[in-house]
């Protein structure tokens, strides 16, 4: 049956399910032991992991809630508490599932002992975790990484580094733990190895046909978000890279007949990942996207001080913490490196940090690369804000340009 589909399923997905199950079980155990922290996706997780604090991710839980198509219902729980429907649907899903965990089949997280947020992905994180804190009683720690206009200035880096030192104090006090240098180095090394393996898999998509499509990457990015810094995460990416390299060697693509190569910009609509598979039937593959390329910075250093310097640098320089010029540069570079024919910008109503500016950057990217693009609007979790027919019309209009 599988052979009849326009896309090829990754063998590694079975291992992914095992890792997800393991992560969930470990999170529950950590909660019971009093060592669980909810963590934002751009948080320097190497530090809590090295201090034996187990991280789990509300954003990933939001993606699961979206993928299981209960987003509107769970977001509605938060709206019942007074949170506007105009707010981030990851946040609403998190607040809603925390309020009514028994009414959420998948995606409600075990009770945390701390909430660790870093605003390098958006300003919403602080507000969202403040709300979660009121619900759970867990204290919030914010690592403030002010957005960069260009290169990171010395006082920016110093400020972020002071925040990291404050984080170590916070974790020590909250969890009665310490940061040992050897362990910190070991965790950072594991994290870097996982990220390097992941980056190699992404780079392999420069090949034609591309061995991975958007949906493949959105699913297989989970461990690098949730478990970087632990052994089994690195092992997973070794297996994934082996499968990707094997596909490249054999000339096997993620879709059966690759005709059009596009760039995807922004978080995906988790509730309709089949969107990518439907396009696969038209020969459309997405060898690159700005979202999964966000996890590309490896932490390096020889001692605690230099590791903290590395973290202050890497975690300040993430894609979403940079200005419009840097985002445009990144898109143009991906289009060039992956030899792409066009791009699709998903304007996510939930995510102002990612989406505001797309209308302008679309024009600039086309001007600089010569390839066309389209902006479609919707949401990543809340399917009430997604008009499939309208989106299909816009994407079809883009595809007609390649005929």
């Amino acid at each position: 049956m599988n052979d009849e589909k326009p896309y090829r399923k990754l063998e590694t997905q079975a291992l992914l399910q095992q890792i997800a199950f393991r992560h969930g079980m470990e999170a529950m155990a950590a909660s019971e032991e009093g060592t669980l922290a909810w963590v934002s996706s751009g948080f320097p997780v190497e530090i809590p992991v090295a201090m034996n604090v187990f991280p789990t991710y509300p954003e990933q839980a939001g993606a699961i809630i979206g993928a299981t198509k209960i987003g509107p219902e769970v977001c509605g729980f938060a709206e019942d508490l007074g949170y506007s429907q105009e707010l981030c649907s990851y946040a609403r899903a998190s607040i809603g599932s925390t309020d009514r965990p028994d009414d959420v089949a998948m995606g409600a997280l075990p009770k945390p002992q701390a909430l660790l947020g870093c605003n390098n992905i958006c300003g919403t994180i602080l507000k969202w975790y403040d709300a979660n804190s009121e619900q759970t009683g867990a204290p919030v720690f914010l690592l403030d990484t002010p957005p960069l206009e260009a290169e990171q200035k010395p006082h920016h880096r110093a400020y972020v580094k002071q925040g990291l030192e404050r984080l170590i104090e916070f974790l020590a006090k909250t969890f009665n733990t310490t940061l040992e240098e050897d362990r910190f180095r070991e965790v950072s090394d594991l994290s870097s190895r996982a990220i390097k393996l992941w980056t190699q898999s992404l780079k392999a998509c420069q090949n034609k046909p591309s061995p991975l499509n958007c949906a493949d990457r959105f699913l297989t990015m989970a461990p690098v978000v949730s478990s970087r810094g632990v052994e089994h995460c690195t092992e997973f990416y070794e297996v994934l890279l082996a499968e990707v390299e094997d596909r490249v060697k054999q000339g096997i693509g993620a879709i059966r007949e690759e005709k059009i190569r596009l760039l995807w910009d922004n978080i995906p609509p988790w509730f309709i990942l089949r969107f990518f598979n439907q396009l696969a039937a038209q020969g459309v593959v997405f060898p690159a996207d700005t979202y999964t390329h966000a996890w590309s910075g490896a932490v390096e250093g020889t001692d605690t001080d230099s590791l903290l310097d590395g973290i202050a640098d890497i975690y300040s320089n993430v894609y979403l913490n940079k200005n419009l010029d840097a985002k445009v540069d990144k898109m143009c570079q991906l289009i060039k490196d992956f030899d792409l024919d066009g791009f699709v910008m998903f304007s996510v109503r939930s995510c102002k940090r990612y989406s505001l500016g797309q209308l302008v950057s679309k024009e600039i990217v086309t001007e600089r690369t010569g390839v066309p693009g389209v902006v479609i609007e919707g949401d990543m979790v809340d399917s009430r804000l997604f008009n499939e027919a309208q989106i299909q019309t816009r994407v079809d209009a883009l595809l007609e340009m390649f005929v």
């Binding site: 006082h155 400020y159 404050r166």
Partner: protein, 400 residues
């Protein structure tokens, strides 16, 4: 004064300044380093939304950009902005202002667009150091662009001017809380509006004159010390030592929210049937209370550090760390200042406002104060319904 009249008056003041050869620097976030800007020979002025602007943002911004940024952008596209020498966008305060600043630079490359990045974290000295460096960089940029170096003497004069203005406004705010019949909210909000339009000596003189008129009556009532005590408590963000106000002469309402001007609120209340002039006793808005209750800039240390310390000494914004402290302070305000009802303003598509409002409502309910939430946009497009909600809310309080 209606809000359109405020805008008209503000534009006239700005035009007069420009005609007199002054350079006006617009700002959006309510905590600019006023004194540093003046020390470079510029006049800081709040860039205001205009309810009557025709939407013209669609080619550059999505509809889910906050109503404030959409309104300002539309004004700029329509060339209906006052003549500004430049505009200051805040960095690291909210995602909309962060990104719209970038979009503005692309769409209007000839505009002088500045970015002043604020710390979100409450890291004490580290936050002050960070902001001081950002203000220094901003100051260098002003010097480079306008050719006017930072002037120590102008800086000291600006400190004195801002002290005069803030001091008088703080006292007037306290009079309004303690004895609302002595100064109307309309008058208070108009004076705050003048300060925001341009902190000039003329504005300071008018504000002081109003204070002197009120002072005489306060002294006759033997309440001068009480007003001073309240001012100190509000400046210290701590009402725990302040003797509770007991005033049962009528319903006492407070209003809280983000980037909404006191004048806007005053304008909304004007049309509400049956509302008394003494009902709204306090706003805790970013452009009102929080801008006014900013501690003075010191003169002992480095000017940039002193300026940063002053800005970070103001009541924190929803964009900053410190929700638990804000909630504690709100509860103290509601109980110790005998507030009977709280209006929570929530600007359309404003993440900080919309995230914080449920917490504010819960806090008020915990101390037995009823609330009403007002979803607002800069165009007040739902004005009749909003006024209806306020009226119903007030009637409910009256019944209790």
């Amino acid at each position: 004064m209606s809000y359109p009249e405020v805008i008209e008056q503000s534009n006239q003041v700005l035009k007069a300044l420009v005609d007199a050869g002054e350079r006006v620097l617009g700002y959006i976030y309510p905590h600019p380093p006023h004194e540093i800007i003046i020390a470079h020979g510029l006049k800081p002025s709040l860039v205001r939304t205009n309810p009557s602007v025709v939407g013209a943002y669609e080619a550059s911004l999505q509809t889910f950009s906050c109503s404030l940024t959409r309104n300002l952008f539309s004004q700029r596209v329509n060339n209906s902005f006052p003549q500004l020498a430049g505009i200051v966008f805040s960095g690291n305060t909210c995602d909309a202002l962060q990104n719209v600043g970038d979009v503005w630079r692309k769409r209007f490359p000839k505009d002088n667009v500045f970015r002043l990045t604020y710390p979100v974290g409450d890291l004490g000295a580290s936050s002050v150091d960070f902001l001081a460096m950002e203000i220094k960089a901003f100051s260098d940029e002003l010097a480079s662009l306008y050719g006017e170096e930072f002037s120590e003497s102008s800086f000291r004069e600006a400190i004195m001017l801002l002290d005069e203005i803030r001091n008088a406004l703080q006292l007037l705010y306290c009079v309004r809380i303690l004895h609302p019949s002595l100064i109307s909210y309309n008058t208070l909000s108009s004076l705050v509006g003048e300060f925001l339009t341009a902190p000039t000596q003329e504005a300071a003189d008018r504000i002081k004159m109003t204070w002197n008129e009120v002072l005489e009556r306060i002294e006759n009532m033997g309440q001068r010390n009480k007003v001073g005590q309240l001012r100190d408590s509000l400046l210290n963000h701590d009402l725990s030592d302040f003797e509770t106000v007991i005033d049962t002469s009528g319903p006492r309402i407070a209003v809280i929210g983000g980037m909404i001007e006191p004048n806007t609120v005053a304008g909304l209340l004007e049309n509400v049937h049956g509302i008394s002039d003494t009902t709204l006793v306090l706003d805790m808005l970013s452009f009102g209370f929080k801008t006014v209750f900013t501690p003075p800039v010191g003169i002992e240390d480095d000017p940039y550090e002193e300026s940063a310390r002053s800005i970070l000494g103001a009541h924190s914004e929803p964009t900053q760390e410190g929700l638990p402290k804000r909630i504690t302070f709100l509860k103290d305000v509601l109980t110790r200042l005998s507030i009977h009802g709280l209006i929570v303003c929530e600007q359309s598509f404003c993440d900080p406002d919309e995230f914080e409002s449920p917490s504010l409502e819960r806090a008020a309910k915990e101390v037995g104060v009823p609330t009403v939430k007002l979803p607002l946009d800069s165009e007040l497009s739902d004005r009749a319904r909003i006024e209806g909600r306020i009226q119903t809310f007030l009637e409910t309080i009256d019944d209790n």
